[in-house]
Amino acid sequence: MSENKRLIADLISIVNKENLSADIYERIGYGQDGIQPDLEPEKIPAVVVKPTSVQEISEVVKYANREKIPIYIHGAGTAFKGSPRPKRPGSILLSTQGLTSIDMHEEDMYFEVGAGANQYELEKLLLSRGYMLPMNVGSKYSATIGGAVAINTIGHMVDICLGKLIDYVMGVEVVLPNGEIIETGTRSIRRSAGIDYTRFFAGMEGVFGVITKIRMRLLPNFKKAYVVGFFPELTDIAHAFMRLYKEKLPPPLYGELLDKKACVAPFRLRGLGEPKGNMGLAITIGHTQEDADQQADKIAKVFKAEKAVEARVVTSVREQEDYWAARDNILNILQTPEGEEKLLPMGALETSVPLSHLADVIEYFRTGHSYSILHEAKLFIYGHVGTCDLHGLWCTPASWPLEKRLRCRKEALLLENEVNLMWGCASGEVGQTAMRIPFLRQRWGEAAYSMLMDIKKVIDPNNILNPGNLEGEGYED
């Protein structure tokens, strides 16, 4: 019996046959992550398994640990800094999408959710009960809650408004690399003081264990108000948010920025007409509508004071949805009119910067750096200015040779490193492993990195969970 056939036979004895696939096309689909280039054929996983219980996951992990087979843990595989991509041949791709239970415990103000539950479906359920999900990532229609907890992201929201996702995670159920199942945290809204094992897993990108279930605090929904402003200069928006915090106004739930170029396609798609400038958008929250509206009025005044050519509270629900969708569905910016050449998003930069340097960083993206291919590519700037998280997206024509396009991606990554190092920050949205490992080592130093690798060795001595991610394999040069 070949090695692969034996692997599959062994795994079928653990998970139902229906929850396993060795089909080449399934393996390609699951193995490909959210970025180009294509997954290398030799890295295509040997098998995809989708266990439906924590016990099955435990058995799969025990087996892999015994046989020293790499496991790549997948929610939906949408992360775009290389972490979901298999890096070693012959791997098991372990999808958590079979874990979708949701148990509400409203009397104790929490819910428990399987790691594979879809974020959008979860959000819909919570909203129907009068709660909100304290996160919003661009890929929520496909992404899982387990993936978000594994990188501790709240996506577009403003950290200082509601906190980071980990602030809502009361505990997790985890399968350790040796297959043991543990539970962390508490069932009380009073969180542990001191040691809380949850922090070994939430935000650790699946290198210490497989998160299978999450206990999260229920957060009653708020009333919202929307403010939109159009500014002559992109840096005016940065100044507006710097002023908003200087004046000690409550942080909005969302504080967004979209340069004029980036507004064009999403506005056209939604019939919003020609953008009147660079767009700033804020969504405030309050326990009452009056409270949210008052905050929105104040932000509109700040926008006007910072040179907005137009700034107003948006009251029409249709308009609120359209402006929000124009920013939220950012991939729309890549849509070109009929007959124009398609653009490919090759250099995606995400950097969180100090409040006082927001405007400087925008200028640095545009003109301050010396990366030649980035200067040749088309730059869109957008991001979560309210949480000081900015994105630069350098797009190339599809006709550029692959090598040049990949160079563009590399330059954007180098620029991201440079900005984060220069201003002493880190990315705040999409994880720190895989292609960001060179930055991680530079930013926090070799002593900290060695500590991380030593801990990994102790917890996962056979390095079976997401191997290559902490090493930055494939992203060395």
């Binding site: 080449i24 689909g29 970025i35 054929p41 939906a76 595989g77 949408t78 999408q97 569905n329 849509q335």
Partner: protein
């Protein structure tokens, strides 16, 4: 002067190029996965999975043409993915690409029949 067979091969190559160029603009966001009416939990039951399969089959010859054909013809042609991709993503027209691949496979079968 080109013979019929050479023209056929050129046309197949052109179709392949068109399909691959279009797939290249997909950024693998998977927005088209959960809403596909044929999706029952496996990625190839969605537009993204079908495009990923077509991509590596045409580039590296991975997988059998019969299995690829089964995937491509299992698409319901409802165009929900196409609408979703337009509103939420980069508008790669996945349904059109799948239909184009059906035409490609039919053309290839025709050529094999002739040879």
């Amino acid at each position: 002067m080109k013979t019929d067979n050479t023209q056929e091969t050129d046309s197949i190559k052109e179709m392949e190029t068109e399909i691959l160029n279009n797939i290249q603009t997909c950024i693998n966001c998977r927005m088209c996965v959960p809403m596909c009416p044929t999706y029952e939990g496996w990625i190839t039951q969605s537009a993204f999975g079908r495009l990923a399969a077509i991509n590596l089959h045409l580039k590296y010859g991975l997988g059998s043409i019969e299995e690829l054909s089964r995937l491509i013809f299992s698409c319901a042609n409802c165009r929900r993915c196409q609408e979703r991709c337009k509103m939420l993503s980069t508008n790669v027209t996945p349904t059109d690409t799948i239909i184009k691949t059906r035409q490609l496979l039919a053309r290839k079968a025709q050529e094999w029949g002739r040879n």
